[in-house]
């Protein structure tokens, strides 16, 4: 026999946690779960055991559209030579405080 029967797997979910002091949800990892509610419960159990979070987002991995690594050149290299896009040519007045 060359064919192997594979058990159906739960879909993959990407997990984003907003930390105690963080403003943004950050990607922390992924997990498998049958549906969104179970994915949030799993995320709570897997990724917030040490008091890491105050909010959880999950998204099924297949819904994430990603850029292709082979497009890296055309996508990102043109910006390398455009230093004027960095706001480093301004003098920030002291009164403005840290930016």
């Amino acid at each position: 026999m060359t064919t192997q029967s594979r058990k159906p797997e739960w879909p993959l979910w990407e997990v984003f946690i907003r930390g105690q002091h963080g403003l943004n949800h950050r990607h922390v990892g992924s997990l498998h779960a049958p549906d969104a509610e179970a994915a949030i419960r799993h995320a709570r159990d897997v990724y917030t055991r040490r008091n890491e979070g105050v909010s959880i987002w999950v998204v099924e991995a297949r819904h994430i559209a990603a850029s292709s690594p082979s497009d890296k050149g055309p996508l990102f290299e043109p910006s390398e030579s455009k230093v004027y896009r960095h706001p480093t040519f301004y003098d920030i007045p002291d009164e403005a405080g840290p930016m």
Partner: protein, 250 residues
């Protein structure tokens, strides 16, 4: 007060024995995510055990600790419900047992917020948050597996048929319960039944499961009169280190 001491043993032995049972899954669960979730649940329950048995030891006033009560008592001294000492079975059976327990446990801890004893209020306030999550997870899993495939549905129905006769013990009262209710320390067990039954019906219905017709209920766990043969087996595992190496610490 003797009744409060007995009550702390009952609450603490429930969480101790169930916590041990659930911990048996560690490293054996069907998937990694459930393995961690089960371990978290077991740790929550053991943490609650420390509080209840700690209070029991304090009331007893004989210099024993929560550890002494957990590891140096024999089966006939345990006051846990029969439900929690039953074997894990398959994952579905474990989650059905958890759901039946969580339904009662959550209702009990919620009611204990109004206890006349501040120490009981403090323990219940901490434990009820954990129990609420346990209930959300176990109810969700029972629904998911009950209303799942033909295989998972059949296993969940078998688990319900097996465990339902152990549901009634949670609502049976004895003299201890009457004394606790009179003192305003804990609710009468049967006063929790209506709301628990409603939840049980809702969840089993959504899970497409059928509640057994017979309301027969095994008893003898919380009074200590008649445990199942399973408890002794749990204790031989759970207590062997303290029995083999008395006083061992690390």
């Amino acid at each position: 007060m003797d009744a409060l001491h007995e009550f702390c043993l009952r609450m603490g032995d429930n969480t101790l024995v169930l916590g041990h049972r659930v911990s048996e899954w560690c490293g054996h669960s069907p998937v990694l995510e459930e393995d961690i979730a089960l371990a978290n649940t077991a740790l929550d329950l053991i943490g609650q055990t420390q509080m209840w048995l700690g209070l029991a030891a304090e009331i007893e006033g004989q210099g024993r600790t929560a550890d002494d009560l957990a590891f140096l008592r024999d089966a006939w001294d345990f006051r846990n419900l029969l439900l929690v000492e039953l074997p894990n079975g398959d994952f579905g059976q474990t989650m059905m047992r958890q759901f039946l327990f969580d339904t009662w446990h959550h209702a009990m801890l919620t009611a204990l917020a109004g206890s006349s004893d501040d120490r009981v209020v403090a323990i219940a306030a901490k434990a009820v948050k954990e129990a609420s999550y346990h209930l959300e997870r176990s109810a969700g899993t029972v629904i998911g597996l009950g209303d799942g495939t033909a295989e998972s549905h059949a296993r969940m129905q078998a688990a319900l048929d097996l465990l339902y006769p152990y549901y009634g013990e949670m609502f049976a009262a004895d003299a201890t319960d009457t004394a606790l209710a009179a003192a305003g320390i804990a609710p009468l067990p049967e006063s929790l039944r209506a709301s628990c039954d409603v939840r049980l019906r809702q969840v089993t219905e959504e899970a497409t499961l059928t509640l057994p017709a017979s309301s027969f209920a095994h008893s003898g766990g919380k009074t200590g009169a008649r445990h199942t043969e399973n408890l002794g087996h749990i204790l031989t595992q759970m207590q062997w280190l303290q029995r083999a190496y008395p006083g061992a610490t690390w």
